[in-house]
């Protein structure tokens, strides 16, 4: 492999900076740095948005509480939801792709590094703008993450908080589109398509959805901005229902963008810690593509109760989703059934992902069925469902991925014992928090209420849910302590050094050093021959056969 390094001598105008200096970070075209910046930023926001959620759980722990005013409460759930979706799970997934895809395909960098960097900056600035709403006189935007007009127009939601929300989401989404595009463009380099690791495939599929669906959100925000300038626009029903179509056309695929990369990370972890090749690779790749295409067609199931959507079609496509989803589950369960399981922290998260996400998925089929949806939509049932998908599912994939790739990214091992403690706290917290919400919704608790009367009998289930949230807070604290402590030890030089391949990985990133050098692969750490989607596994098997052959020779 020949690589022309960045900033060749012929290049003029380069100013040398130390690689660890801030200038080196903010202008870096190293895909690993951009990926880390993205993941780090979204992680900080994750903690912030989680704090908002804890405040909400405290408010709802008892009936008729007044810890926060209802106006503040409305801001809390709006920014929590918008933040988690626009600013945490989507960017983190793409940031993971920016970091890992070039490594997995054996490339020294990303296709359009400068554009990717621009995408990051749009995202970071957009996040700042959205959060700046809290500092405006009428405070932040308070109309939920989907902000339907006319509620979100300038008559019913006055104040610059909403305008800032629109501007912030617009910028951040533009950023994610740019990032998505680069990963897709990069795909043409490297190995053959059917040797791409599952994770890289999930990024391709996510990027297809980003390109197809995210512009619809920009259009929806544009519509909202125009409508805020001229509220009479929303006197026409066509714009009100049109906004919902635009929004959900983005709003459903985005859930899959927040899910596929984590699912694929789980798949990689399962395969590595089962000590075998991922089972049903071709079926999984195909089902990812079908899954994604169907996801573009189901947005109307968020609109069953509007009485203005073609319910039969959307329920048809929603139910059809169970075919590709079933294939993926088959592959995941098949992988561990024939495996030799090692229960290290990344594997624990991946294993918990399987049943927990299944709850989210199966209840998803339920809400995709109009007859059930008429009852549970806009209730706490939906809140529970989406948290099972995004938290019990995607977040477990996310943390599994963090534990899995942490040694590769930082060069040191993340403490195992705290990892296990953290895992059990998180499993307990997740299920105690979100399981009662199914019952609450079924019993008639609408979502987005800042309080409830005591006679409604929601008290003890809400209290249970709030207790669960305390466990989640504890779990996140343990995690933060674990990471920060490990990083601190790394600076002091006393952390446990990570070998190049601590887990017996399958994909190319484990062939280079930890952390990888600037151009990913060096003559000391060359790209190994790519013979399948698990090249390192092939290599190990070949070596084993050779030693066996050597031994059998007299």
């Amino acid at each position: 492999m020949t690589v022309a390094p960045p900033t060749e001598k012929s290049d003029i105008g380069g100013r040398p900076v130390p690689p660890s200096g801030w200038l080196g970070w903010v202008t870096s075209t190293d895909h690993k740095r951009i990926g880390l910046l993205t993941a780090g930023t979204s992680f900080v926001l994750f903690v912030g948005m989680g704090t908002l959620a804890l405040t909400m759980r405290a408010q709802l722990a008892q009936p008729e509480q007044e810890l926060v005013s209802s106006h503040l409460y409305n801001q809390l759930f709006t920014i929590h939801g918008s933040g988690m979706i626009y600013l945490v799970f989507t960017p983190f997934a793409l940031g993971m792709g920016v970091y890992l895809v070039p490594l997995q395909i054996g490339a020294p960098g990303i296709a359009m590094a400068r554009l990717t960097l621009l995408g990051y900056w749009f995202y970071a600035l957009g996040a700042a703008v959205m959060l700046a709403g809290f500092a405006t006189p009428l405070r932040a935007h308070a109309d939920g993450w989907f902000s339907y007009p006319p509620m979100a127009d300038s008559v019913h939601s006055p104040g610059t908080g909403t305008d800032l929300w629109i501007a912030g989401v617009f910028l951040a989404t533009t950023g994610t589109i740019i990032m998505g595009w680069t990963v897709l463009r990069k795909r043409t380099y490297g190995m053959t398509m059917l040797r791409l690791p599952v994770f890289s495939w999930s990024m391709i599929v996510s990027c297809l959805m980003v390109i197809g669906a995210f512009p619809a959100l920009l259009a929806a925000l544009g519509l909202l901005a125009v409508g805020r300038a001229d509220p009479s626009m929303f006197d026409q029903n066509v714009w009100n229902i049109g906004y919902q179509h635009l929004f959900w056309f983005y709003g459903h695929p985005v859930v899959y963008v927040m899910f596929f990369p984590y699912l694929a990370a789980v798949a990689e972890v399962l395969a590595v810690f089962s000590g075998r090749r991922f089972f049903g690779y071709k079926g999984t790749v195909l089902s990812l593509l079908v899954f994604a295409a169907l996801s573009m067609s189901v947005w109307g199931h968020h609109m069953f109760a509007t009485g203005q959507a073609t319910n039969d079609y959307y329920s048809l496509t929603s139910i059809a989703l169970l075919v590709p989803a079933g294939v993926e589950y088959f592959a995941m369960v098949g992988t561990i059934l024939g495996g030799r399981l090692r229960l290290a922290p990344p594997m624990l998260f991946a294993l918990a992902f399987i049943p927990q996400f299944l709850i989210g998925g199966l209840t998803g089929i339920m809400v995709g069925t109009p007859v059930i949806d008429y009852h549970v939509t806009d209730s706490y049932f939906v809140v529970a469902h989406l948290h099972y998908v995004l938290f019990a599912g995607s977040a477990f994939g996310l943390f599994g991925a963090v534990y899995f790739w942490f040694p590769k990214v930082t060069g040191v091992m993340l403490g195992h014992r705290l990892g296990r403690l953290r895992f059990w706290l998180l499993v307990l917290g997740t299920n105690v928090t979100f399981l009662p919400m199914f019952a609450l919704g079924y019993l008639g608790m609408p979502r987005r209420i800042s309080s409830y009367a005591s006679f409604e009998g929601f008290g003890w289930l809400n209290l249970l849910s709030s207790i669960g949230a305390a466990f989640l807070a504890a779990a996140m604290t343990v995690f933060a302590v674990n990471v920060l402590w490990t990083l601190r030890k790394r600076t002091l030089g006393s952390a446990e050094k990570a070998p190049d391949d601590p887990w017996g990985g399958h994909t190319l990133e484990w062939a280079t050093s930890s952390p990888p050098p600037r151009l990913n692969f060096t003559p000391d750490h060359p790209v190994p021959p790519v013979t399948s989607f698990a090249p390192l596994l092939d290599l190990r098997q070949k070596q084993k056969e050779e030693t066996a052959a050597d031994r059998s020779r007299p």
Partner: protein
């Protein structure tokens, strides 16, 4: 076929969307939906064409790479310039008076090729 598999994936995926849209048309929907989804299909096919163009211009599996980072220093000013433009929608057009010069600086940086040289 094999050489342009990447193109086939993107184009085929877009086409699959088109088929699903056609099924929706059988059921009937608000006309805004046809524009919306039809637009998305067109966008995807354009992306497929871009992928085709890039895979025709170079080999599928690269062994020689160029990792350009010229003018990366211009990225941050550009981002801030667009931030000011976005804020101009909220706080008034006078902000464009700040965004303009900032973007000009960014263009100058880009033309000069300013970047932080990594060692």
């Amino acid at each position: 076929m094999k050489r342009h598999l990447s193109f086939v994936v993107v184009a085929g995926w877009g086409l699959f969307n088109g088929i699903l849209l056609a099924v929706l048309a059988v059921y009937g929907e608000n006309s805004i939906v046809y524009w919306l989804w039809g637009g998305a299909v067109v966008l995807l096919e354009l992306a497929a064409v871009a992928v085709l163009a890039s895979s025709r211009s170079g080999p599928d599996q690269h062994v020689r790479y160029r990792v350009p980072d010229r003018a990366a220093g211009a990225v941050v000013p550009i981002a801030f310039g667009f931030l000011l433009i976005a804020l101009a929608f909220v706080y008034g057009w006078w902000l464009l008076a700040l965004a303009g010069p900032l973007l000009l600086v960014a263009v100058a940086l880009a033309v000069r090729g300013t970047t932080a040289r990594e060692e």
